[in-house]
């Protein structure tokens, strides 16, 4: 699974790939009702390019993968628990799919959605 021991050549994985895997994981994470852009300018550019993974940032630093998630959480759930489990889910899915260790997953709660219960 390790990328370094491929005998035939190298495998390169784009940030977009990792973000897509994370995106799938976030959508299945309980309590997370959406992804948010970090700011308006960002949101506009992303909107223009129709990026499905806006709200997810992937960085490589010295071969380490760092993922930042900008999410919106359902009002009335325990934010701490939801954030912890989305971080876990994303880490697990990315590591399982790629076989590469994820250094850190940072969760930024950008807002809450209040569903109308009546």
């Amino acid at each position: 699974m390790n990328m370094e021991i491929e005998p035939q050549g190298n495998i390169h994985i784009s940030k977009q790939t990792i973000a897509t895997i994370a995106f799938q994981a976030v959508q299945r994470s309980y309590g997370v009702v959406g992804l948010a852009s970090r700011n308006i300018v960002d949101g506009l550019t992303h909107a223009l390019v129709k990026d499905p993974t806006h709200g997810i940032d992937v960085e490589y630093k010295n071969d380490l993968i760092n993922i930042d998630l900008y999410i919106i959480i359902e009002y009335g759930t325990r934010i701490k628990s939801v954030a912890a489990s989305v971080a876990n889910t994303v880490r697990y899915q990315v590591e399982k799919t790629l076989g590469l260790p994820v250094n850190e997953v940072n969760v930024h709660v950008q807002g809450l959605r209040i569903s109308n219960l009546d």
Binding site: V26, Q27, R28, S29, Y30, G31, V32, V33, G34, E74, G76, T77, R78, S81, V82, A84, S85, T89, P101, N103, S115, L117, D118
Partner: protein, 551 residues
Amino acid sequence: MSDDNPERTALFIDGAYFKDLIRASLTWLKTNQEAVNALNVFPVPDGDTGTNMVLTLQAAYDEMKSSEVKKVGSLAEKLAHGALMGARGNSGVILSQIWRGFSKGIGNVEVLDGQSLVKGLVQARDTAYKGVVRPVEGTILTVCKDSALAAQEAYQETNDPREIIKQVTEAAEKSVNNTPELLDVLKEAGVVDAGGKGLLHIFEGMVRLMNNQPLDIAPLGIKPLSLIGKQEAQNAAEPGQDYEVIVDFKPFKPLHLETFYDELEEIGTSIQVGEGEGIYRMHIHVPTEKRYEPIDYTMTLGTISKVHIENLMEQTGNSHPPEEEISLNPVEPGQIAVVAVSPGIGFTKIFASLGAASIVEGGQTMNPSTQEILTAVEKLPTDKIIILPNNKNILMSAQSAAELAVKDVRVIETTTLPQGLSAMLRLIPGQDMDKVTAEMKEAVTDVESGAITTAVRSVDIDGIKIAEGEIISLHNGSLVSSEENLKDGCFNFLKAAQAEQYELITLFYGENISQSAAEEMAAMIQEEYPDQIIELQFGGQPHYQFIISIE
């Protein structure tokens, strides 16, 4: 759904009984906590869905129990609030949403009747589903949905909330058993969804209270097969009950558990029954003269596939070495100190005797946090530190700790305990840091590592079929084989590692195997490998019968 049917009697659940029902759910969920935890999708025992759900429901119940109000509506509101504040883990968050929806759904009712119960369950489902963008079916959400549907159907026939809860429970059970059909990962792992099972236990607890069935003890409890084993019994040998008998059997017809237990109680004590894929495992302690009775009795009920008899008195006479003080190596400022991660008391002692300055507890299922490792690093009175993580899962925390520390910290990437010990032998505290690090890194490759453990459930990995309860052996972290007995497991590893080409084989036995059994294994290995030196050491690690080092 109208309420004016004259045949419907005014049946309801009042505040006091509502509290009783929730308490029953909590107690029953606690009773089954370990069994829910065991529904892991991975063969290492580290699941905690059961624990998370218990803690969430406990917080919810605590919020409600001291309340003086009699109104069910207000009680449910408190319950929902407690669940929200106490929600732990993914399953806990979903459970809190279920209570939140339930509370909204029943509204401000004085007592809970059939209609409000149905409304509550329907709203619970809707609220639970709102919490996720793409709901995954085959989880607690599905069970919640099927329960709500069953409540609506039951309400067509009855207005009695008790009867509705009973029918909901039946539907929930079916739904739980169907989860593997909806979610492939469950099917592959051969388990049902843990969260769904937890929700079922919550309903079951209520039904058990209505039927006056016991809640806190599980006399009729059926544990997963893997939870029934001799290691559980070792500290529970009572005088006069000298023999432990374990029988695996397949019943001719569905087992009547109550009669089964009654009969067994006539014979002995410490009775446990487990079930997995149609096979039952019966565990009992009996006096010497009765040691064959459980077998004879079980033979009348079904086909026996395996029998295990062990003299417990011999075991207790030969137990693990008593615990002694561990003295860690004192370090002087300027010297190199080693922080080693150890999964058990035996390994801790060995690392200490080799000169480790600090030990962090941790292993396969209990990974220490970066903070724990960092604290150990910071505490030492020197600024040259070497960390031996000794497990693949701990590597990352060790590396983060090294980055965060202000000291000169190096991580030797030891992924197994034998590698850690091998590296440890090269430590010279007064020498140059770079030189020692290089030496230790080199030592890692000198040793072949093996690990022998019991699969906690059936799974298919790397093309090897593993059945629950089988002995799996790992060579340098990759799966070698899955066998029915310990001996084959050990020998398969030794063969895979080409032990005959090395000099020394060291067996570190874990906390789940007796010293006598470990000695027996060492003797068998010596017989097969007469040219090698065999050493036996107490490792004290959980879950792994043996960790083996070959050098």
